[in-house]
Subunit: 586 residues, 2 copies
């Protein structure tokens, strides 16, 4: 197993043996550890001393179900802290097959505006990498560029790269990856890592694992036994089974649920219920597609080997694809948060975000703050589409929005910015679901639902049932437990959505533990694996402290403390002491 070190200062490449201390790490555990070990936390995220790390999950490239997630890490231009943003794509398995535990991109090009790409192949014994000029792909729609790459490098490659958002160094720019149809729709979206890649003059890393050997195991039988248990658990659980909640309605199944809970942030977090929710719900998407396509359309996998298959496509009246995929978060951010209930317009906006390389959450919330600041009225779908096009062009207003929700608030002098550590909140109102608010406030990542998804017990009743409006110290414990488990899960390559099955079905969790021990030849207990997640959080936290963060950064925005959120008329009332317990007791 190797680490590929890519130096953009002199365009040199170095294939290094994986050091002992990294051998049991993968995914987030590895990206965060490398960033902690190698990056000065006080460096400018877009300067020469930041690094960008790609690492497949520990189990990626195997038959472990839903395990094709790749972690991308670096110092975030959006938050100023450590960032791990993960993505489901064929990319992680391809890197794993090449024996690459990580790619570390470092240095800084002397010539600004010049772009390069990297082509990775298997040379019979080890991975081989080559630099190629990439200027011809610069400034263009990724939907148009990806086919050119497939024509040039063959149908079997996988692509990681940036769109114009990353070239323009937007703090709201993701790293794009290919989906199962080889379109640029899978994203390491959050935290502006596209801008880090752009600042290094790196446009694409194209990976071709043809001829590379299969991933090997310390104990293959144990691994296979574990993978089977987990696959069965996923096949059983109501949310993850075929034609279950996620496979039928996608993540947007949450629209009606969260709206009903009064926690569906509407018009820049002015309301917890959206009168147009029913028009943009997962059920409505399913019914619209059924009507437009003349048959029931179930969702598809984001990556090879996924059994949950929650990625939805939205079709238009003519049966043409508007966009794939349309997730709960995108649907909400570009919909309810902007007061928009026009599903096709939302689909169009998601398409534009994919074309330019923008994070849909940050984009929607940024537009919501702009609407809240009087730039255009809430509900103006045409205006919102125009704004996203301006983001693609790099006009001044495009740059303001490209800077993310917090930058919009600063440019317009609007204190109503729903963000923590500079990162926009996702689609759960922290005033109405207290545990997720604790996660938003305390996560090393900025406001991030995936960092500790307490929605499972607070709303879905998975892994127990907890009152979402309860604001006591138990919420610190709940968030901490989810944050630790998540950090561990994010290191395996497994999708976060296996949580439902491993929380509710004991053999599912057993399977996960066996997979890991089978891969590594270890004897970890479940608790030990969760503790390893805690170790990752400690490293991330230490990086953030080095970058200047204190417990005062672990707070929800002030306006949520004095503005009551309808319909429950609640404020952010989890105390500072409770917030500080999350990491204080880690």
């Amino acid at each position: 197993m190797w680490i590929l070190r890519v130096n953009m200062t002199d365009r040199s490449l170095k294939l290094e043996e994986v050091p002992e201390k990294y051998q049991q790490l993968g995914g987030r555990g590895l990206t965060s550890t490398i960033i902690y070990d190698e990056v000065d936390p006080q460096c400018h995220p877009l300067g020469p001393y930041n690094k960008l790390v790609f690492a497949p999950g520990l189990l990626s490239g195997t038959v472990a179900p839903s395990s094709s997630r790749l972690s991308v890490g670096g110092k975030s231009p959006l938050t100023g802290g450590i960032k791990e943003s993960n993505v489901g794509s064929g990319y992680a398995p391809a890197l794993a097959k090449l024996g690459l535990k990580a790619i570390i991109v470092e240095g800084h090009p002397e010539e600004a505006g010049k772009y390069w790409m990297l082509h990775l192949t298997w040379d019979g014994e080890k991975p081989h990498a080559e630099f190629l000029p990439a200027d011809e792909y610069v400034g263009r729609d990724l939907y148009k560029v990806f086919p050119k790459l497939y024509t040039r490098f063959g149908k079997k490659v996988h692509v990681a790269g940036i769109g114009v958002a990353g070239e323009l160094k937007y703090k709201n720019s993701g790293v794009a990856f290919d989906d199962m149809k080889q379109k640029p729709t899978r994203y390491s979206g959050r935290g502006g890592l596209g801008a880090v890649m752009g600042s290094k003059g790196l446009k694409f890393i194209v990976v071709d694992s043809t001829g590379a050997p299969a991933v090997t195991f310390a104990n293959e039988a144990l691994f296979k036994q574990g993978a089977k248990k987990l696959r069965e658990a996923l096949g059983e659980h109501a949310l993850t089974k075929p034609k279950g909640g996620l496979n039928t309605y996608g993540t947007a199944v949450l629209v009606n649920i969260i709206n009903e809970a009064g926690a569906f942030p509407t018009r820049n977090f002015r309301d917890g219920r959206f009168e147009g929710a029913a028009k943009i719900s997962g059920e409505t998407i399913f019914e619209a597609n059924k009507k437009r396509m003349g048959k029931e359309i179930y969702n598809h996998a984001c990556s090879p080997g996924c059994v949950i298959q929650c990625s939805g496509t939205l079709y238009d009246e003519q049966g043409e694809e508007i966009v794939s995929c349309i997730e709960y978060e995108s649907d909400w951010a570009l919909g309810a948060d902007c007061g928009i209930d026009d599903l096709d317009a939302i689909g169009k906006m998601v398409y534009l975000c994919n074309a330019y390389g923008l994070d849909t959450i940050e984009t929607g919330v940024a537009i919501g703050v702009a609407m809240d600041s009087g730039l255009l009225p809430f509900g103006d779908a045409k205006g919102a589409i125009k704004l996203i096009k301006k983001m693609g062009k790099g006009t001044p207003i495009g740059r303001i929005l490209g800077g993310g929700a917090a930058l919009v608030g600063e440019a317009f002098g609007n204190p109503r910015v729903p963000a923590v550590k500079g990162q926009a909140m996702p689609a759960y109102e922290p005033r109405a679901i207290k545990g997720i608010g604790v996660t938003y406030a305390t996560s090393t990542m900025g406001a991030d639902h995936t960092a500790g998804y307490t929605i499972a017990p607070e709303i879905a009743g998975t892994g127990g049932k907890v009152d979402p409006l309860l604001a006591d110290a138990s919420k610190a414990e709940l968030s901490r437990a989810f944050q630790k488990t998540t950090a561990a899960l994010d290191s395996t390559g497994h999708c976060l959505f296996i949580s439902f099955a491993i929380l509710d079905i004991p053999s599912g969790f057993e399977g996960l533990v066996e997979e890991i021990n089978g891969m590594l030849g270890t004897n970890f207990t479940g608790d030990e694996i969760v503790s390893l997640g805690g170790e990752i959080l400690k490293r991330e936290r230490a990086f953030n402290e080095g970058a200047g963060f204190t417990n005062l950064d672990d707070r929800l925005p002030e306006f949520m403390k004095y503005e009551k959120l309808p319909p429950h008329n609640v404020v952010a009332d989890v105390t500072d002491e409770i917030m500080d317990k999350v990491y204080g007791d880690l």
Copy 2:
């Protein structure tokens, strides 16, 4: 003596007796103490819980020479920390005569976009205040609005207010005050306090001290003796005497001196020498005026009672005023830092900043960063003027620039932002003058030369002579000593420029001490007064810590640590340990 409390939520007014603990405080000492006592350091600067405090210096309104400075304080939208920004104007003496030690503006209007003004008069026994609608003055050039106020309220009033920059809530917006010709050219410029005033819906505070009694003293004889000594010292010193350095060439006398020292930041801090320096120097301004006006024009006072009289006017070929005043900082920021050597264009830009209510330093550096980011070429004076006009209109690019240099860097993804704690650096390169770099890095105010003007010994040889390139621990001591003395001076109402005379002429310092003791009836020694400055710094520091700042915020920008500055080819090399000694040993 009273404090006037102005509540913008319900537009109520309250005249309060000055509490015991505030009786010996004035100026910065009072604004910073009130902010420390009353403002939650974690509040949003533009939200309902910030306050804006106006306080005349302790000696303002007396015959103490050059003592008409007013402090404006609040939590800064630009830095996120405490801010005191002071201004020379007839405003401070007028408040002092009304017996007002401070005006505290608090609360938040419910109706956005509606503006009010306050009219203060003397009712025979005490100050009287009245709210009046101010919407008719909104969105307009302050040069056009000020005359209307003088027509309406009489020639004897003084005005504090905001221009469109404050209305637009720019982080780069000052509070404007009247000069001796009743034009809006005196500014509490730094730190965005105009936006705080704008966020509270307060457009102007018009002060009329007609009929108010004179300021009284505990020991008038002692005070008068001190004022005389200080006046004599100012009249003797080469820099401050009539037709001396500052009275002849204004602060722009520094252009050639700092350029010669290789510390004149040029083209967004890419060079320490500007080939066009001679074209924009104080000497050139003097000669241009002489030629254009047919006689030697000496500078004028910014405020009543100033004996230094350093404010310069720039006239055009027809003998018409282009702008008053043209300071070293403005001349440099809108000139050299943008690669512009066209004096008349610079004068025009200063005029526009006054018209809109912008800080000239922040504006120039913001444009410099925009040039550095490729928006327009360095040296493009016409382009720069157009950009400032866009700032006045609130277009998207205007808003980016109105957010200050740091926001421009974020919007354009440019790490080359010469700022500390979000505030743009003034006209001394910290790589080439190490002591001022320590002040920039550690000041509670963000990068601010006036917070601890070590240029005096490092360049001017005032109060001793120190090697500017020396980067050892003595620079921490030097900066600390200047920061403490400055905090004390900023509380008296005296202009910082009395420093030259009190550093070099012992009787001058003696005079200052006697003035203070004569005013208060105290027996402070000089050392005790400096220590009181240290107490003010501690309060400011505590506020900033409460706002989330740590010693990691006391650092120069990273790019200065790896980019060598010509002509000395020096980097920022004062160690973190030395930076931490400044406040560590306070």
